[in-house]
Amino acid sequence: MKSFITIDSPGADVLFSGNESIARGCVEAGVSLVTGYPGTPTTPVIEILKSVDSPIQARWAINEKVAFDIATGNSWAGLRTLVTMKMSGLNVASDSILSVAASGTVGGLVIYVGDDPNVYYGMVEQDSRYYALLSSAPMLVPANPQELLDFTRYAFELSEEIGGPVFLRSTTVLSNTYSKVTLGEVRRLRQKAHFDFNIDKYTKAGSIRCRKQHQEALDRVKKTATVADHLNILTEKGTKVGVIASSLAWDYLMEVLEKHDLDLTRLKVSTAHPIPGDKIRKTLESTERVLVLEELEPIIENGVRVQASMMENPPFVFGKEDGLVPRVGDLSPDQVREALSYVLGEKIEACPGLDINEKAESLKVERLLTFCSGCPHRNSYYAMIKAMKELGMDPSEIVVTGDIGCTVLGINEPFSICWTEVSMGSSIGLAEGFIEAGMKKPVVATLGDGTFYHSGISPMINAVATGQDMPVVILDNNWAAMTGYQSNFGTLGGDTVRIPIEKISRGFGVNSVKVVNPYKLKKSIRAYKKLLTARGVNVLILRGPCVARQPRTWDLAVRVNPKKCQGFEGCERTCIEALACPAIIRDGDDVRINQEDCQSCGLCVNYCPSAAIRSSPLKIRRKRIGI
């Protein structure tokens, strides 16, 4: 089937998500390389481009900084490049980004970053627009999938016109919005790699060079203010109240205005940096009260306030600084309606819904995250706790540092074993800090395979070099599961040369490395017991593929024998309480296993103190998911 991502039929209407629009934008812009690191909501762009037949090279890098460096090399050789990452990844890449933003670029270099207002996925609620200010590089903030496509294509032109990198910023909601998008023309650029020796531009040797680069970066922003100003649209209506809105806040504003037949002076800001000073000034000059709408931090708002401070009779500016619009969480049409009501001084009525919202809220079922049924990590943590107990340790007293990804679900009940979550690969450094501080030993570091490659290698070297006694547990499920199963450098059957974790850690001289199958419970417990009592840095790799990506064998039926099962009445700690496997379900006081969900991992069979759970070979192979 021909993909709409690559098809060359300008003018065709298709249904695209925000991420598909960006992928398409790369095709239309004639991009040569797209690289990055998986991070919701940006992940799909590379996955989409990997799956289609196009001249674009799309591939994951070990982390965001490396991805950005690769992208820079490609751009400096004159080729168009996109680099993708979530907001946390921007922090990782920022060292290089600031440097390159000062140097400037050659081939168009666009940084697609996804923020997560409201924190749909965990991690710091961070406003990446500050990086545009910090690095003196322009940032475009589209408001819908069509703009994501158009702005992506334009960002490459802008980048080449000003000679510096350009940020393209989306958010979780925007990247996950699907709508009708009209395709443009597909360009194929015949570019040949070429690089000029120019240490004034490409190095930071000497303060004169660096100051000059700083000035040049500022000049690029200034030029953007002129050449990209057409993206910011001012609609003058002569009303006393005006609104300045950006990205999704603009969509919400228009929803409210049109629904309630309000026609106000309004400015749509599509360049978060530099903000459109002239148009803001115009808006301020023609109004008496101005509301600024944007998600997260008051960045545009503060720019508006600066403009207002230079006026003799400025209008009132409303927004976040006065507490009207929240800085925490994302916005919605309802919040915008309320803020606008306040500024207008008259109530805009909400749509009449049912009068049962509070009651519905109180009945809502919370769904705490647990491991999937059959997940190897459930077995790994279960074995860890069991080993601690067998060694006479109290698991609730042993500090276990967690890391990013599915592995950190060990924080939740029933395991409640991981204590911390900071950033990619930080579990090992944290553990070293705890040990140095004199915490009771052992302090255990746990992380996934993806986090190990991303940022776990250097802290492990550090721990070896400083002579720590540290058990390091690597829960290796073969993919970056939480972001949708991207392969990494340890993935069996991945698309790169495989560099196994055990080889890497042996290479820098950890005391011991053991690889165990977490579904072999006894072996795992034995390995943990050795690990928890050993001296030096020791690594235990529990290797079992993510079951959501690669379901386990379907030849075993695991069933509860109702005659033997003590049920919720008689069982001291039921398998449901102890394991939280979603496949084990409660039926009154009885316990059953949902055959559609069970992955035959055998953990409950091992656990049941009454030997009531049995696994038996299935006569007919269970029907695989046929769709």
Binding site: N176, Y178, V365, A548, I627
Partner: protein
């Protein structure tokens, strides 16, 4: 014309596919659809919802009190969609249940069908419960539950023709299209046969 649907469910139930097929069918009919998927961390088991719209504007989120239909693929998940429902809107609830860990330990934390019915009646709306999981299993696979609910939605709303819905299902789903189409019809008939309109 503006038409808004909020669909709720849990990860793994196919809310994205549900929304994608509906929106593509709308696009094929010359409407201007959009949808936005709201999901949390877990691929499996966490809450997922989708705001599906047809109209002139593109605004990902539906305003409270403006949804013509709210529906859920998992019984209790309908509760998350309640604030979006219009006064005279319609409610479709799949009877499939998925108790999370905490509700399993104290089942009274998981609302029964009676509680949910009572709640909507208080708001003056009669919810329609659909044994979508049973229907899906009869059709051949639990994964067709989303198509059963799509059929039910099309039956109560006529938002797209059954013909374009079926065509889009066939175009979108390569493997197992037949049982999905059958699921769609079963869901459709469940509603149209009962004259809920």
């Amino acid at each position: 014309m503006e038409f808004n649907v909020v669909a709720a469910g849990i990860g793994g139930q196919g809310i994205v596919l549900f929304s994608d097929i509906l929106a593509k069918a709308m696009l094929a009919e010359g409407q201007n659809p959009s949808f936005y998927v709201h999901s949390g961390l877990a691929q499996l088991g966490g809450s997922v919802s989708s705001h599906i719209r047809a109209g002139d504007r593109i605004c990902p989120k539906i305003t409270h009190g403006c949804a013509d239909v709210i529906l859920s693929l998992e019984c209790a998940e309908i509760l998350r969609a309640v604030p979006y429902l219009k006064k005279d809107g319609k409610v479709l609830i799949s009877q499939a249940t998925r108790m999370p860990y905490h509700s399993t330990l104290s089942p009274d934390r998981y609302p029964t069908i009676d509680t949910i019915t009572e709640l909507f009646r208080e708001g003056g709306v009669e919810p329609v419960f659909i044994p979508a999981d049973t229907i899906a299993r009869e059709v051949g696979h639990i994964q067709t539950l989303n198509m059963v609910m799509l059929g039910a939605l099309v039956a109560v709303s006529n938002i797209v023709d059954t013909e374009s819905a079926v065509r889009t299902i066939r175009e979108t789903i390569q493997r197992g299209a037949d049982i999905n189409v059958e699921g769609f019809w079963k869901g459709y008939e469940f509603i149209s046969g009962k004259d809920y309109n």
